[in-house]
Protein backbone atom coordinates (compact mmCIF):
# COMPACT_ATOMS: atom_id res chain seq x y z
CA UNK A 1 0.00 0.00 0.00
CA UNK A 2 1.25 3.45 -0.81
CA UNK A 3 0.72 6.28 1.62
CA UNK A 4 2.24 9.58 2.72
CA UNK A 5 4.43 9.89 5.75
CA UNK A 6 5.26 13.31 7.23
CA UNK A 7 8.38 13.77 9.32
CA UNK A 8 10.10 16.76 10.89
CA UNK A 9 13.45 18.00 9.63
CA UNK A 10 16.13 16.53 11.89
CA UNK A 11 14.03 13.60 13.07
CA UNK A 12 15.19 9.97 13.03
CA UNK A 13 12.85 7.93 10.85
CA UNK A 14 12.36 4.17 10.96
CA UNK A 15 10.45 2.50 8.12
CA UNK A 16 9.15 -1.03 8.38
CA UNK A 17 8.77 -3.14 5.27
CA UNK A 18 5.06 -3.69 5.71
CA UNK A 19 4.38 -6.99 7.46
CA UNK A 20 7.81 -8.47 6.69
CA UNK A 21 9.74 -9.89 9.67
CA UNK A 22 12.70 -7.99 10.99
CA UNK A 23 15.15 -10.60 9.73
CA UNK A 24 13.64 -10.88 6.23
CA UNK A 25 15.90 -10.13 3.29
CA UNK A 26 14.70 -6.94 1.62
CA UNK A 27 15.88 -4.18 -0.65
CA UNK A 28 14.90 -0.58 -0.12
CA UNK A 29 14.89 2.09 -2.83
CA UNK A 30 14.54 5.85 -2.71
CA UNK A 31 13.02 7.30 -5.87
CA UNK A 32 14.01 4.13 -7.71
CA UNK A 33 17.64 4.07 -6.51
CA UNK A 34 18.84 1.27 -4.24
CA UNK A 35 19.62 2.33 -0.69
CA UNK A 36 22.88 1.14 0.78
CA UNK A 37 22.63 -1.66 3.40
CA UNK A 38 24.37 0.57 5.96
CA UNK A 39 21.02 2.34 6.41
CA UNK A 40 19.28 -0.93 7.29
CA UNK A 41 18.67 -2.52 10.64
CA UNK A 42 17.40 -5.95 9.63
CA UNK A 43 14.58 -5.20 7.22
CA UNK A 44 13.98 -1.77 8.75
CA UNK A 45 15.17 1.33 6.98
CA UNK A 46 16.76 3.87 9.36
CA UNK A 47 17.11 7.48 8.28
CA UNK A 48 18.86 9.59 10.88
CA UNK A 49 18.48 13.36 11.11
CA UNK A 50 16.37 13.59 7.96
CA UNK A 51 16.83 16.52 5.61
CA UNK A 52 14.43 18.16 3.19
CA UNK A 53 16.27 16.59 0.26
CA UNK A 54 15.36 13.14 1.54
CA UNK A 55 11.70 13.66 0.69
CA UNK A 56 10.59 11.18 -1.95
CA UNK A 57 9.19 7.76 -2.66
CA UNK A 58 10.55 4.88 -0.59
CA UNK A 59 9.86 1.31 -1.65
CA UNK A 60 10.66 -2.03 -0.06
CA UNK A 61 11.07 -5.22 -2.13
CA UNK A 62 11.27 -8.80 -0.92
CA UNK A 63 14.84 -10.05 -1.38
CA UNK A 64 14.55 -12.88 -3.89
CA UNK A 65 11.21 -12.29 -5.58
CA UNK A 66 11.43 -8.50 -5.88
CA UNK A 67 7.81 -8.27 -4.96
CA UNK A 68 6.89 -4.81 -3.78
CA UNK A 69 6.01 -5.18 -0.14
CA UNK A 70 5.67 -1.61 1.01
CA UNK A 71 5.73 1.87 -0.45
CA UNK A 72 5.48 5.29 1.16
CA UNK A 73 5.96 8.86 0.14
CA UNK A 74 8.15 10.61 2.70
CA UNK A 75 7.53 14.35 3.07
CA UNK A 76 10.08 16.08 5.29
CA UNK A 77 8.96 19.42 6.63
CA UNK A 78 8.41 21.56 9.73
CA UNK A 79 5.44 22.41 11.92
CA UNK A 80 4.08 25.90 11.18
CA UNK A 81 5.54 28.96 12.86
CA UNK A 82 3.19 31.71 14.06
CA UNK A 83 1.44 33.00 10.93
CA UNK A 84 1.51 36.65 9.91
CA UNK A 85 -2.01 38.12 9.72
CA UNK A 86 -3.14 41.47 8.40
CA UNK A 87 -6.63 42.96 8.21
CA UNK A 88 -7.54 46.09 6.31
CA UNK A 89 -10.52 47.99 5.02
CA UNK A 90 -9.79 49.46 1.60
CA UNK A 91 -13.48 49.63 0.69
CA UNK A 92 -15.00 51.33 3.75
CA UNK A 93 -17.83 51.28 4.71
CA UNK A 94 -18.56 48.03 2.87
CA UNK A 95 -16.28 45.73 4.83
CA UNK A 96 -12.72 44.57 5.32
CA UNK A 97 -10.41 41.75 4.31
CA UNK A 98 -7.79 39.73 6.12
CA UNK A 99 -4.79 38.13 4.50
CA UNK A 100 -2.05 35.93 5.89
CA UNK A 101 1.12 34.05 5.18
CA UNK A 102 3.69 31.94 6.96
CA UNK A 103 7.00 33.61 7.82
CA UNK A 104 8.93 30.51 6.73
CA UNK A 105 7.81 27.63 4.48
CA UNK A 106 6.90 24.28 6.03
CA UNK A 107 7.49 22.31 2.80
CA UNK A 108 4.34 20.27 3.46
CA UNK A 109 0.67 21.12 2.92
CA UNK A 110 -0.96 23.53 5.40
CA UNK A 111 -4.58 24.32 6.07
CA UNK A 112 -5.81 27.65 7.44
CA UNK A 113 -8.87 28.39 9.50
CA UNK A 114 -9.99 31.92 10.33
CA UNK A 115 -12.55 33.05 12.88
CA UNK A 116 -13.91 36.58 13.31
CA UNK A 117 -15.79 37.67 16.40
CA UNK A 118 -17.44 41.05 16.94
CA UNK A 119 -18.43 41.28 20.57
CA UNK A 120 -20.29 38.03 21.07
CA UNK A 121 -21.22 37.62 17.43
CA UNK A 122 -19.43 35.15 15.14
CA UNK A 123 -18.93 36.49 11.66
CA UNK A 124 -18.19 34.56 8.49
CA UNK A 125 -15.08 35.53 6.58
CA UNK A 126 -15.65 34.43 3.00
CA UNK A 127 -12.56 33.01 1.39
CA UNK A 128 -11.42 34.69 -1.80
CA UNK A 129 -10.73 32.46 -4.80
CA UNK A 130 -7.69 34.57 -5.64
CA UNK A 131 -5.49 35.06 -3.76
CA UNK A 132 -5.98 31.90 -1.73
CA UNK A 133 -4.76 33.25 1.60
CA UNK A 134 -7.37 35.96 1.92
CA UNK A 135 -10.99 36.32 3.04
CA UNK A 136 -13.42 39.21 3.27
CA UNK A 137 -16.20 40.30 5.61
CA UNK A 138 -19.11 42.67 5.16
CA UNK A 139 -19.73 45.16 7.95
CA UNK A 140 -23.10 44.52 9.58
CA UNK A 141 -22.75 47.57 11.80
CA UNK A 142 -20.98 50.89 11.43
CA UNK A 143 -19.55 53.22 14.08
CA UNK A 144 -19.23 50.47 16.66
CA UNK A 145 -16.82 50.81 19.59
CA UNK A 146 -16.79 47.04 20.03
CA UNK A 147 -13.56 45.57 18.75
CA UNK A 148 -13.17 42.83 16.18
CA UNK A 149 -11.12 39.76 17.11
CA UNK A 150 -9.67 37.71 14.29
CA UNK A 151 -7.95 34.40 14.99
CA UNK A 152 -6.05 32.53 12.32
CA UNK A 153 -5.03 28.91 12.94
CA UNK A 154 -2.65 27.09 10.64
CA UNK A 155 -2.39 23.31 10.82
CA UNK A 156 -0.25 20.71 9.11
CA UNK A 157 0.62 17.09 9.76
CA UNK A 158 3.44 18.09 12.11
CA UNK A 159 1.70 20.66 14.29
CA UNK A 160 -0.35 23.82 14.50
CA UNK A 161 0.03 27.45 15.39
CA UNK A 162 -2.16 30.53 15.55
CA UNK A 163 -2.23 34.27 15.85
CA UNK A 164 -4.89 36.76 16.95
CA UNK A 165 -5.53 40.32 15.85
CA UNK A 166 -7.84 42.69 17.73
CA UNK A 167 -8.83 46.03 16.24
CA UNK A 168 -11.64 48.53 16.00
CA UNK A 169 -13.54 49.51 12.90
CA UNK A 170 -11.75 52.79 12.24
CA UNK A 171 -8.19 51.67 12.84
CA UNK A 172 -7.91 49.34 9.84
CA UNK A 173 -9.31 51.75 7.25
CA UNK A 174 -6.58 52.27 4.65
CA UNK A 175 -7.54 53.08 1.07
CA UNK A 176 -5.65 51.80 -1.95
CA UNK A 177 -3.33 54.39 -3.54
CA UNK A 178 -4.81 56.93 -5.96
CA UNK A 179 -4.97 55.78 -9.57
CA UNK A 180 -4.19 57.25 -12.96
CA UNK A 181 -1.74 59.85 -11.65
CA UNK A 182 -0.80 62.18 -14.48
CA UNK A 183 1.68 65.05 -14.38
CA UNK A 184 1.97 67.51 -17.26
CA UNK A 185 3.96 70.66 -17.91
CA UNK A 186 2.01 73.90 -18.15
CA UNK A 187 2.67 75.72 -21.45
CA UNK A 188 4.65 78.94 -21.04
CA UNK A 189 5.15 78.26 -17.33
CA UNK A 190 8.65 76.97 -16.65
CA UNK A 191 8.02 76.43 -12.93
CA UNK A 192 4.68 74.68 -13.00
CA UNK A 193 3.51 71.12 -13.25
CA UNK A 194 -0.14 70.13 -13.31
CA UNK A 195 -0.87 66.91 -11.43
CA UNK A 196 -4.17 65.04 -11.49
CA UNK A 197 -5.29 61.67 -10.23
CA UNK A 198 -8.37 59.59 -9.51
CA UNK A 199 -9.86 58.06 -6.39
CA UNK A 200 -8.89 54.39 -6.03
CA UNK A 201 -11.54 52.32 -7.80
CA UNK A 202 -11.87 50.07 -4.73
CA UNK A 203 -13.23 52.99 -2.63
CA UNK A 204 -16.97 52.54 -3.06
CA UNK A 205 -18.49 55.94 -2.19
CA UNK A 206 -16.09 58.88 -2.36
CA UNK A 207 -18.98 61.35 -2.24
CA UNK A 208 -20.21 60.25 1.16
CA UNK A 209 -16.78 59.16 2.38
CA UNK A 210 -14.45 61.68 0.77
CA UNK A 211 -10.74 61.09 0.65
CA UNK A 212 -7.99 63.58 1.31
CA UNK A 213 -4.65 63.41 -0.44
CA UNK A 214 -0.96 63.88 0.16
CA UNK A 215 1.23 64.79 -2.76
CA UNK A 216 5.01 64.52 -2.70
CA UNK A 217 7.41 65.65 -5.39
CA UNK A 218 11.11 66.26 -5.91
CA UNK A 219 13.52 66.79 -8.79
CA UNK A 220 15.36 63.58 -9.61
CA UNK A 221 18.65 65.24 -8.76
CA UNK A 222 17.64 65.96 -5.15
CA UNK A 223 16.75 63.60 -2.29
CA UNK A 224 14.41 65.81 -0.32
CA UNK A 225 10.67 65.66 -1.01
CA UNK A 226 8.25 68.55 -0.96
CA UNK A 227 4.85 67.70 0.54
CA UNK A 228 1.39 69.12 0.04
CA UNK A 229 -1.74 67.96 1.85
CA UNK A 230 -5.00 68.50 -0.04
CA UNK A 231 -8.35 68.22 1.68
CA UNK A 232 -10.41 68.02 -1.50
CA UNK A 233 -10.12 67.79 -5.24
CA UNK A 234 -8.12 65.39 -7.33
CA UNK A 235 -5.68 67.80 -8.89
CA UNK A 236 -2.97 70.22 -7.88
CA UNK A 237 -0.60 72.60 -9.63
CA UNK A 238 2.99 72.62 -8.44
CA UNK A 239 4.23 76.21 -8.78
CA UNK A 240 7.77 76.05 -7.43
CA UNK A 241 9.38 73.49 -9.70
CA UNK A 242 12.96 74.06 -10.81
CA UNK A 243 12.96 74.98 -14.47
CA UNK A 244 14.07 72.28 -16.83
CA UNK A 245 14.45 69.60 -14.17
CA UNK A 246 12.74 66.25 -14.33
CA UNK A 247 10.46 65.60 -11.37
CA UNK A 248 9.17 62.49 -9.70
CA UNK A 249 5.69 62.78 -8.21
CA UNK A 250 3.52 60.51 -6.04
CA UNK A 251 0.15 60.76 -4.33
CA UNK A 252 -1.35 59.00 -1.28
CA UNK A 253 -4.95 58.95 -0.01
CA UNK A 254 -6.72 58.74 3.34
CA UNK A 255 -10.33 58.84 4.46
CA UNK A 256 -11.06 62.40 5.53
CA UNK A 257 -11.92 61.39 9.08
CA UNK A 258 -10.56 57.96 10.04
CA UNK A 259 -7.87 55.38 9.42
CA UNK A 260 -4.40 55.67 7.92
CA UNK A 261 -2.72 56.84 4.73
CA UNK A 262 -2.55 54.59 1.72
CA UNK A 263 0.73 53.48 0.22
CA UNK A 264 2.21 55.90 -2.31
CA UNK A 265 0.86 55.71 -5.82
CA UNK A 266 2.95 54.62 -8.76
CA UNK A 267 5.49 57.38 -9.40
CA UNK A 268 5.13 59.61 -12.44
CA UNK A 269 7.80 61.73 -14.05
CA UNK A 270 7.43 65.13 -15.65
CA UNK A 271 9.57 68.09 -16.63
CA UNK A 272 8.25 71.67 -16.56
CA UNK A 273 7.81 73.50 -19.86
CA UNK A 274 10.96 75.06 -21.22
CA UNK A 275 11.30 77.58 -24.03
CA UNK A 276 12.53 76.21 -27.35
CA UNK A 277 16.15 77.37 -27.93
CA UNK A 278 16.28 80.18 -30.62
CA UNK A 279 18.40 79.75 -33.80
CA UNK A 280 21.96 80.96 -33.00
CA UNK A 281 24.98 82.14 -35.13
CA UNK A 282 27.99 79.82 -35.35
CA UNK A 283 30.08 81.90 -32.87
CA UNK A 284 27.28 82.10 -30.37
CA UNK A 285 26.62 78.36 -30.73
CA UNK A 286 30.21 77.59 -29.70
CA UNK A 287 29.90 79.92 -26.68
CA UNK A 288 26.56 78.33 -25.75
CA UNK A 289 27.96 74.79 -25.97
CA UNK A 290 30.99 75.68 -23.81
CA UNK A 291 28.98 77.37 -21.07
CA UNK A 292 26.26 74.62 -21.04
CA UNK A 293 28.78 71.85 -20.35
CA UNK A 294 30.21 73.64 -17.31
CA UNK A 295 26.89 74.61 -15.73
CA UNK A 296 25.24 71.83 -13.71
CA UNK A 297 22.28 73.75 -12.39
CA UNK A 298 20.24 76.41 -14.09
CA UNK A 299 18.86 79.06 -11.75
CA UNK A 300 15.10 79.63 -11.87
CA UNK A 301 14.03 82.42 -14.22
CA UNK A 302 13.31 84.77 -11.29
CA UNK A 303 17.00 84.93 -10.56
CA UNK A 304 17.83 86.08 -14.12
CA UNK A 305 19.66 89.37 -14.02
CA UNK A 306 19.77 90.28 -17.72
CA UNK A 307 17.06 90.76 -20.25
CA UNK A 308 18.00 90.40 -23.86
CA UNK A 309 16.85 93.95 -24.51
CA UNK A 310 19.42 95.33 -22.06
CA UNK A 311 22.45 93.93 -23.88
CA UNK A 312 25.31 96.15 -25.05
CA UNK A 313 27.83 95.00 -27.61
CA UNK A 314 27.58 91.85 -29.64
CA UNK A 315 28.75 88.25 -29.88
CA UNK A 316 30.90 86.83 -27.08
CA UNK A 317 31.59 90.31 -25.66
CA UNK A 318 27.95 91.22 -25.18
CA UNK A 319 27.42 92.70 -21.73
CA UNK A 320 24.12 93.69 -20.19
CA UNK A 321 23.55 97.08 -18.66
CA UNK A 322 23.04 95.75 -15.15
CA UNK A 323 26.20 93.67 -15.16
CA UNK A 324 28.09 96.59 -16.62
CA UNK A 325 26.97 98.88 -13.82
CA UNK A 326 27.99 96.34 -11.16
CA UNK A 327 31.42 95.89 -12.71
CA UNK A 328 31.82 99.65 -12.93
CA UNK A 329 30.86 100.08 -9.28
CA UNK A 330 33.43 97.52 -8.14
CA UNK A 331 36.07 99.12 -10.35
CA UNK A 332 35.49 102.46 -8.66
CA UNK A 333 35.89 100.85 -5.22
CA UNK A 334 39.28 99.39 -6.06
CA UNK A 335 40.81 102.42 -7.78
Amino acid sequence: DSHIQYERVGADVTMKCGSMDWDAAVTWTANGTDIDESHLNGSYLILKNVELSQSGQYSCYEGSSWHLKYQTYLRVGTPPKEPVLMCRSNNYPKGFYCSWHLPTPTYIPNSFNISVIHGTKDMVCEKDAVPKNRCHIRYLQLFSTVKYKVTLTVTNALGKNFTTLTFDEFAIVKPDPPESVVAKPVPNNPRRLEVSWQNPSSWPDPESFPLKFFLRYRPLILDQWQHVELSDGTSHTITDAYAGKEYIIQVAAKDNDIGTWSDWSVAVHATPWTEEPKHLTTEAQITETTSASTSSFMAPPTTKICDKGAMVGSGAMAVCWTAGLVVAAYSVLFI
Binding site: P93, T145, F170, S208, P210, D257, I258
Partner: protein
Protein backbone atom coordinates in the same frame (compact mmCIF):
# COMPACT_ATOMS: atom_id res chain seq x y z
CA UNK B 1 -46.27 63.51 -1.63
CA UNK B 2 -43.92 66.13 -0.24
CA UNK B 3 -43.30 69.38 -2.11
CA UNK B 4 -39.96 70.04 -3.75
CA UNK B 5 -37.46 71.99 -1.67
CA UNK B 6 -37.09 75.71 -2.46
CA UNK B 7 -33.66 76.85 -3.68
CA UNK B 8 -33.15 79.04 -0.60
CA UNK B 9 -34.00 76.13 1.72
CA UNK B 10 -31.60 73.91 -0.16
CA UNK B 11 -28.89 76.53 0.21
CA UNK B 12 -29.60 77.00 3.91
CA UNK B 13 -29.59 73.24 4.46
CA UNK B 14 -26.28 72.86 2.67
CA UNK B 15 -24.85 75.72 4.70
CA UNK B 16 -26.10 74.24 7.99
CA UNK B 17 -24.72 70.84 7.00
CA UNK B 18 -21.30 72.30 6.13
CA UNK B 19 -21.09 74.15 9.42
CA UNK B 20 -22.35 71.11 11.27
CA UNK B 21 -19.65 68.99 9.63
CA UNK B 22 -17.00 71.42 10.79
CA UNK B 23 -18.48 71.51 14.31
CA UNK B 24 -18.58 67.73 14.51
CA UNK B 25 -15.04 67.46 13.16
CA UNK B 26 -13.73 69.86 15.82
CA UNK B 27 -15.76 68.08 18.49
CA UNK B 28 -14.26 64.76 17.53
CA UNK B 29 -10.69 66.09 17.63
CA UNK B 30 -11.34 67.53 21.11
CA UNK B 31 -12.96 64.30 22.38
CA UNK B 32 -9.97 62.27 21.18
CA UNK B 33 -7.57 64.61 23.04
CA UNK B 34 -9.79 64.53 26.11
CA UNK B 35 -9.95 60.72 26.01
CA UNK B 36 -6.16 60.49 26.20
CA UNK B 37 -6.04 62.88 29.14
CA UNK B 38 -8.98 61.20 30.85
CA UNK B 39 -7.48 57.72 30.63
CA UNK B 40 -4.18 58.93 32.01
CA UNK B 41 -5.54 61.04 34.82
CA UNK B 42 -8.14 58.53 35.92
CA UNK B 43 -5.55 55.76 35.97
CA UNK B 44 -7.44 53.63 33.48
CA UNK B 45 -6.18 51.14 30.89
CA UNK B 46 -6.73 52.65 27.44
CA UNK B 47 -7.46 49.24 25.96
CA UNK B 48 -10.05 48.33 28.61
CA UNK B 49 -13.34 47.16 27.18
CA UNK B 50 -16.28 48.98 28.63
CA UNK B 51 -19.62 47.23 28.46
CA UNK B 52 -22.48 49.29 27.08
CA UNK B 53 -23.68 51.53 29.89
CA UNK B 54 -27.33 52.30 30.36
CA UNK B 55 -28.20 55.76 29.17
CA UNK B 56 -25.11 56.21 26.96
CA UNK B 57 -26.28 56.46 23.34
CA UNK B 58 -24.57 53.82 21.22
CA UNK B 59 -23.33 55.05 17.85
CA UNK B 60 -23.26 51.58 16.29
CA UNK B 61 -26.01 51.17 13.72
CA UNK B 62 -27.06 48.55 11.20
CA UNK B 63 -28.07 49.48 7.65
CA UNK B 64 -26.79 53.01 8.15
CA UNK B 65 -26.88 53.67 4.42
CA UNK B 66 -30.64 52.95 4.32
CA UNK B 67 -31.60 55.57 6.92
CA UNK B 68 -33.74 58.51 5.87
CA UNK B 69 -32.62 62.07 6.49
CA UNK B 70 -35.22 62.52 9.20
CA UNK B 71 -34.08 59.37 10.99
CA UNK B 72 -30.52 60.62 10.91
CA UNK B 73 -31.42 64.00 12.39
CA UNK B 74 -33.70 62.57 15.08
CA UNK B 75 -31.20 59.92 16.17
CA UNK B 76 -28.39 62.46 16.26
CA UNK B 77 -30.48 64.92 18.27
CA UNK B 78 -31.50 62.28 20.82
CA UNK B 79 -27.86 61.23 21.19
CA UNK B 80 -26.42 64.71 21.71
CA UNK B 81 -29.14 65.64 24.18
CA UNK B 82 -28.21 62.54 26.16
CA UNK B 83 -24.50 63.42 25.93
CA UNK B 84 -25.27 66.91 27.16
CA UNK B 85 -26.77 65.46 30.36
CA UNK B 86 -24.04 62.84 30.73
CA UNK B 87 -21.21 65.35 30.33
CA UNK B 88 -22.85 67.69 32.84
CA UNK B 89 -23.00 64.79 35.28
CA UNK B 90 -19.35 63.88 34.61
CA UNK B 91 -18.35 67.49 35.22
CA UNK B 92 -20.12 67.53 38.54
CA UNK B 93 -18.59 64.21 39.59
CA UNK B 94 -15.19 65.51 38.54
CA UNK B 95 -15.57 68.58 40.72
CA UNK B 96 -16.75 66.49 43.68
CA UNK B 97 -13.89 64.02 43.33
CA UNK B 98 -11.02 66.33 42.71
CA UNK B 99 -12.14 69.88 43.45
CA UNK B 100 -9.55 72.13 41.95
CA UNK B 101 -6.91 69.42 41.74
CA UNK B 102 -7.69 68.63 38.13
CA UNK B 103 -8.87 71.93 36.69
CA UNK B 104 -7.49 71.08 33.24
CA UNK B 105 -9.70 68.05 32.81
CA UNK B 106 -12.66 69.98 34.20
CA UNK B 107 -12.13 72.82 31.74
CA UNK B 108 -11.84 70.39 28.84
CA UNK B 109 -15.06 68.66 29.88
CA UNK B 110 -16.83 72.02 30.18
CA UNK B 111 -15.63 73.06 26.72
CA UNK B 112 -16.82 69.78 25.26
CA UNK B 113 -20.19 70.20 26.95
CA UNK B 114 -20.53 73.58 25.22
CA UNK B 115 -19.73 72.04 21.85
CA UNK B 116 -22.24 69.25 22.37
CA UNK B 117 -24.92 71.77 23.33
CA UNK B 118 -24.11 73.86 20.27
CA UNK B 119 -24.29 70.83 18.02
CA UNK B 120 -27.64 69.77 19.49
CA UNK B 121 -28.96 73.25 18.74
CA UNK B 122 -27.56 73.00 15.22
CA UNK B 123 -29.48 69.77 14.70
CA UNK B 124 -32.65 71.44 15.94
CA UNK B 125 -32.11 74.17 13.33
CA UNK B 126 -31.85 71.53 10.62
CA UNK B 127 -35.03 69.88 11.81
CA UNK B 128 -36.83 73.24 11.87
CA UNK B 129 -35.68 73.84 8.30
CA UNK B 130 -37.32 70.60 7.30
CA UNK B 131 -40.51 71.75 9.04
CA UNK B 132 -40.16 68.79 11.32
CA UNK B 133 -41.43 69.11 14.85
CA UNK B 134 -38.59 69.08 17.30
CA UNK B 135 -39.15 66.32 19.82
CA UNK B 136 -39.47 67.72 23.33
CA UNK B 137 -36.89 66.76 25.86
CA UNK B 138 -38.29 64.14 28.21
CA UNK B 139 -39.81 66.20 31.03
CA UNK B 140 -37.20 66.47 33.75
CA UNK B 141 -35.18 63.71 32.11
CA UNK B 142 -34.91 60.08 33.18
CA UNK B 143 -34.84 59.28 36.90
CA UNK B 144 -31.33 59.81 38.33
CA UNK B 145 -29.28 56.61 38.08
CA UNK B 146 -28.20 54.84 41.26
CA UNK B 147 -25.07 56.27 42.81
CA UNK B 148 -22.02 54.60 41.29
CA UNK B 149 -18.75 53.85 42.99
CA UNK B 150 -15.79 56.00 42.05
CA UNK B 151 -14.36 53.30 39.79
CA UNK B 152 -17.74 52.76 38.13
CA UNK B 153 -17.99 56.51 37.53
CA UNK B 154 -14.59 56.50 35.84
CA UNK B 155 -15.49 53.56 33.62
CA UNK B 156 -18.78 55.14 32.66
CA UNK B 157 -16.92 58.34 31.83
CA UNK B 158 -14.63 56.35 29.55
CA UNK B 159 -17.67 54.80 27.86
CA UNK B 160 -19.31 58.21 27.41
CA UNK B 161 -16.24 59.74 25.77
CA UNK B 162 -15.66 56.73 23.51
CA UNK B 163 -19.24 56.71 22.25
CA UNK B 164 -19.17 60.47 21.78
CA UNK B 165 -16.05 60.09 19.63
CA UNK B 166 -17.87 57.54 17.47
CA UNK B 167 -20.98 59.71 17.29
CA UNK B 168 -18.92 62.68 16.12
CA UNK B 169 -17.67 60.64 13.17
CA UNK B 170 -21.14 59.29 12.47
CA UNK B 171 -22.59 62.81 12.58
CA UNK B 172 -20.11 63.99 9.94
CA UNK B 173 -21.19 61.12 7.71
CA UNK B 174 -24.87 61.75 8.42
CA UNK B 175 -24.57 65.43 7.57
CA UNK B 176 -22.75 64.63 4.33
CA UNK B 177 -25.64 62.38 3.36
CA UNK B 178 -28.08 65.15 4.26
CA UNK B 179 -26.14 67.69 2.22
CA UNK B 180 -26.43 65.60 -0.92
CA UNK B 181 -29.07 66.94 -3.28
CA UNK B 182 -31.70 64.43 -4.37
CA UNK B 183 -31.52 63.98 -8.16
CA UNK B 184 -35.33 64.15 -8.74
CA UNK B 185 -36.67 66.84 -6.46
CA UNK B 186 -33.54 68.68 -5.43
CA UNK B 187 -34.41 67.86 -1.83
CA UNK B 188 -32.04 66.00 0.44
CA UNK B 189 -32.43 62.24 0.25
CA UNK B 190 -35.00 61.03 2.73
CA UNK B 191 -35.99 64.45 4.00
CA UNK B 192 -38.84 64.87 1.53
CA UNK B 193 -40.57 61.83 2.96
CA UNK B 194 -43.51 62.02 5.30
CA UNK B 195 -42.86 60.89 8.85
Amino acid sequence: MAAAESPSSALRRRDLCSRGIRLAGKMRADVVDLLDAYVEQQGLDASASVAAVEGVPVAAVERWDEQTGTQRLLENLAAYRAFRALLAQMLEEQREQLGEADAGLGRALAALLLQVSAFAYHLEELLRLESRGIPGEEGDGPPPPPRLSLFEQKLRGLGVLRELAQWAVRSVRDLRQLAKPSPATGAAPGLAESP
